[in-house]
């Protein structure tokens, strides 16, 4: 248990330095995915989530794809998103947030399932907190009984994550966090929240878009947002957020 806490504390330290969103790696060069990602490259492995599985592929030799693990989820539980955070994988599913550890990168091991009502939910992690959006989706079978909200989950005890905040949303999708800035695709808006105190998030700004936002990546002061009309980027610093480009 102590080891877990230590690992998390270290994770927090690492995150405060550089990339806490998307992929991390040793010697290999990988990129950064958004919170809606279903693929994640970490070191020599590619992790893929889909409706039924968490699959692990060894891609150390770029001319081969070798499956090393395949975990089957419950029939009624579709896994939708994957967010790597140092040595852990956070999986968003219709019934909750799964945590797997990567002590053996070829075979992820189940740590915990944080359950909630049936919803669709991407997750991002920074330091010892996870941020999860739960969304209803009325035109699919899987998510039509859910709620629309943001939950903040304390991961200090990785075997007993705890809800430390719930915020009502319109219809949230992807989200991203960078330092004190939390960005949420919510309905037709980009919602910017101040996450200086993870226990008391406050709204900074709601930016209305000419389309429905889907996925975001917040990295090094630049927010990249895909939405139904194209791709937007914003520059943000302590107290300002400014649109800098749009392509269609």
């Amino acid at each position: 248990m102590k080891k877990c806490i230590l690992a998390l504390a270290l994770t927090g330290l690492l995150f405060s330095c550089d990339s806490f969103s998307g992929d991390s790696s040793g010697n290999s060069s990988t990129g950064t995915g958004g919170s809606m990602a279903r693929f994640a490259c970490i070191g020599d492995h590619l992790y893929v989530v889909d409706e039924s599985f968490l699959q692990t592929f060894d891609i150390s030799d770029s001319t081969k794809i070798v499956r090393t693990s395949r975990i089957v989820s419950n029939w009624n539980n579709s896994i939708e998103t994957i967010f790597p955070a140092d040595s852990l994988l956070f999986l968003g599913s219709t019934s909750g947030m799964y945590i797997y550890n990567l002590k053996d990168p070829a075979t992820p091991k189940f740590v915990y399932l944080y359950t909630h009502v049936v919803s669709c939910d991407p997750v991002v992690v920074q330091g010892k907190y996870a941020y999860v959006t739960l969304r209803t989706e009325h035109d699919t079978w899987s998510c039509n009984r859910g709620v629309d909200q943001l939950e903040v989950i304390d991961l200090s005890k990785i075997n007993a994550p705890k809800n430390v905040g719930t915020y009502p949303m319109v219809n949230p999708r992807g989200l991203g966090i960078d330092g004190n800035h939390l960005f949420i695709c919510d309905g037709m808006d980009l919602l910017v929240m101040d996450a200086t105190d993870p226990l008391a998030l406050t709204e900074i700004k709601r930016i209305e878009l000419d389309g429905t936002p889907y996925d975001v990546i917040a990295k090094n002061g630049i927010l990249t947002l895909s939405y139904s009309s194209g791709l937007k980027q914003y520059a943000y610093s302590n107290d300002t957020i400014q649109e800098i480009s749009t392509i269609y």
């Binding site: 995915g33 693929f39 590619l46």
Partner: protein, 165 residues
């Protein structure tokens, strides 16, 4: 009570049949699928954007079921669409050491590329490593199940019949 039940079943049934015709799959022959991943050097307009991925100075943006926009983002204030990687059935991607891993319908493909010269080639393909692309509403018409549709075809996307294309 009986009337209520009848009304309920009519609603339920009409709901089902509505869903049944709402989405129909796009099919592709397997031999065609296996040569379908191609770099197109000219940029295409963004129509149905999906997931995003950042790799070095590049932004990769999924065009749902069609492929990946390759966007030069050296200057985020002036991103430039440089090209398009055609990948039928595409929804997700990740990059490691210059190799892009992408879902080409049920196949997982590794595609090596040089974004600066817009050259690339398929390096590896793991056939049927991934499940079929599910319909957006979760309903697959029976005639398009693997057993009932033409042999050696794969679902590479879904079309909403009721939406304007």
């Amino acid at each position: 009570m009986k009337k209520l039940l009848l009304l309920f079943s009519i609603l339920l049934f009409s709901g089902f049949s509505y869903n049944g015709v709402e989405y129909i799959p796009m099919l592709m022959d397997r031999t065609e699928l296996e040569t379908s991943v191609q770099l197109v050097s000219s940029a295409l307009p963004i129509r149905n954007p999906g997931r995003i991925y950042i790799y070095q100075n590049w932004l990769l943006l999924v065009e749902q079921y069609k492929g990946i926009h390759l966007i030069d983002n050296a200057d985020p204030a002036n991103p430039v669409r440089r090209g398009f990687l055609r990948v039928p059935g595409c929804q997700s991607m990740a990059v490691r050491n210059g190799v892009l891993y992408v879902d080409n319908a049920v196949d997982l493909v590794g595609f090596q590329f040089d974004l600066n010269t817009m050259q690339g080639q398929e390096l590896v393909r793991s056939r049927k490593a991934l499940p079929e692309i599910n319909s957006p509403d979760g309903y697959v018409p029976w005639e398009f199940s693997r057993a009932n549709r033409p042999a050696n075809t794969e679902i590479v996307g879904w079309i909403n019949q009721n939406a304007d294309v």
